[in-house]
Subunit: 331 residues, 2 copies
């Protein structure tokens, strides 16, 4: 199969809904512009052996890649609508697995109402590598920035933390659990579910926001740094899923477990600052969409020494590094 055949048979169907994509038969795509919305863009990449297990089915890799980007868009109060895709595939390898990859793209395109607009394909000397640049619309106020958190804000998260970390351990055999629980948690690792319908509420209520990809602790620290506040979080308030509690048993409430769960990353939930006066309205509106909003702490005026203060049941604890370091590849 040549590149041209691959693009036309496998990828072009994914671009049918995007008129500016020109059927992937051209060098550029045209993106729509809107007078009533602002245009935002995020880029994320996934590489075999680093961002996914080589044994992972490629349709799930495709979905995770899209959802990582969708998470960025939603965290800023936006709605994704289109993406560019760069595929780099080991030279000489069979292209057939990329059909499975394209099926994952197709499934998520339907689920999230997004379309492929264009991209690039290349053979490379390393393992498979994929990069997506995702486009989204936000309202007239523009993207909800990390920097917007204000002293006095309540810090909330949009869903359970640590499921993906447990799912990775289960997928790697480092932990065991009954099949239904294991499958649910592995699914959270393989195909995270960012709270995509929350975008408009985030745009309306959030002062500042970040999606939780590197670990709750690391990302809260980034949120605090960007907003020049100090954030205090009580690990005992971090919401866990029923499946996580099922796997962890008595361990679930321990400081060590909570700190680990809050460092594991790949959650693709969102941490938000909310003005106290808005908390009830936001929580109620989110509940109507099926999301359980959990307050986990608050922001205050920046202290010189520390952007993030961790508590456990109200008592201060030492804050260790934690969080995924992209360039070192170590947890």
């Amino acid at each position: 199969m040549t590149e041209f055949d691959f693009i036309q048979s496998i990828l072009a169907p994914l671009a049918r809904g995007a008129s500016g994509a020109a059927g992937l038969r051209d060098d550029v795509a045209e993106l729509p512009q809107r007078a009533d919305a602002r245009l935002i863009v995020s880029t994320d990449q996934m590489s075999a052996g680093i961002h996914y297990l080589r044994s992972a089915p490629l349709h799930k890799v495709a979905q995770k890649l899209l959802r990582r980007n969708i998470s960025d868009i939603v965290a800023k109060g936006g709605q994704p609508f289109a993406y560019q895709l760069a595929i780099a595939w080991p030279r000489g390898s069979d292209l057939a697995p990329l059909r499975d990859f394209a099926e994952g793209l197709a499934d998520d395109q339907q689920l999230y109402d997004i379309h492929l607009t264009g991209g690039d394909c290349a053979a490379i000397l390393g393992p498979a590598h994929f990069s997506v640049t995702m486009f989204g619309w936000v309202g007239a106020r523009g993207p909800v920035r990390r920097a917007g958190v204000k002293p006095g804000d309540v810090i909330v998260v949009t869903g359970p933390i640590g499921d993906a970390g447990l799912g990775l351990q289960l997928a790697q055999g480092a932990r065991i659990a009954p099949a239904p629980i294991a499958e649910a948690l592995i699914a959270r690792h393989e195909t995270p579910a960012p709270p995509v319908t929350l975008g408009p509420l985030i745009a309306r209520f959030a002062t500042g926001a970040i999606d939780i990809s590197d670990g709750l602790i690391a990302d809260l620290r980034q949120l605090a740094i960007a907003s020049t506040t100090s954030i205090t979080m009580d690990l005992a308030q971090v919401p866990l899923s029923a499946q996580a509690r099922g796997v962890l048993g008595d361990e679930a409430g321990s400081l060590d477990a909570l700190r680990w769960l809050a460092s594991a990353g790949d959650d693709y939930q969102i941490a938000l600052g909310i003005a106290p006066a808005d908390l009830n309205d936001f929580t109620a509106a989110a509940a109507q969409l099926g999301y359980a909003i959990t307050p986990i702490g608050g922001a205050s005026a920046a202290r010189s020494s520390e952007h993030l203060q961790l508590l456990f049941c109200g008592a201060p604890i030492a804050s260790t590094g934690g969080g995924y370091q992209h360039f070192s590849g170590q947890g």
Copy 2:
């Protein structure tokens, strides 16, 4: 150096001119929208050992990566203005060479008046890999599509063909030449110079267009297929640079050499369809900008068997495959 430090010290200065980039301190960038122009986007990637020699200085790799994308934008009649960048770097490798990469980005940002808006950094298990998604503006008619070429159009190219192919051979030691000639041709391979100021003239005059990256023969065939025309090109009319003639000597005018030069790729010139009535105006306007436009053939109604007919001094010759196959990685 952590990812955060790397981004803030090395990459953030490249985003200073893009207000929507938020200093690379957020998950998304905001892109501008314009009522008087349409927005186009292209994606291209480069991987060590495939798209550049591992010995190549990274600032030149950065420039080539940007220019490959700029070439796509210009070929469609557009003007580039911003880009997203994904850097994938071998895990555990020293990050210091990326300073050199960033210097190449900075040089070309100044040269082309473009800005970094955002992106992603990751450590990977393979060789260095870079992906750029470039944004450009085109006028109200929209991008000049490949599909726009009409029967009767003259087919022209915007500059010499084959320099980059010769430059690669010289860089690899497969060919030798006096130093000034070798340096000039290696520079064409390492840092192509797309005809960036031609964008508005292309938008005004071209019926259809493609940038020449995979080789003139291969790209003309794509142009013919997309426009459902047949294109006839006379290899004897393909323009060569003085340096190419210097390296090739008597060989320069031979069919074999011309066919090879027209298959070598990486030219980043543009092949255009021009209505015969516009040819003089386009050529004169381009000459004022310093570009020598060369007619190399013409388009006619599609023939069933063949989209591209090659001539040599007016006599038909067999058209062989040729052109870079991205997924097989073979010429």
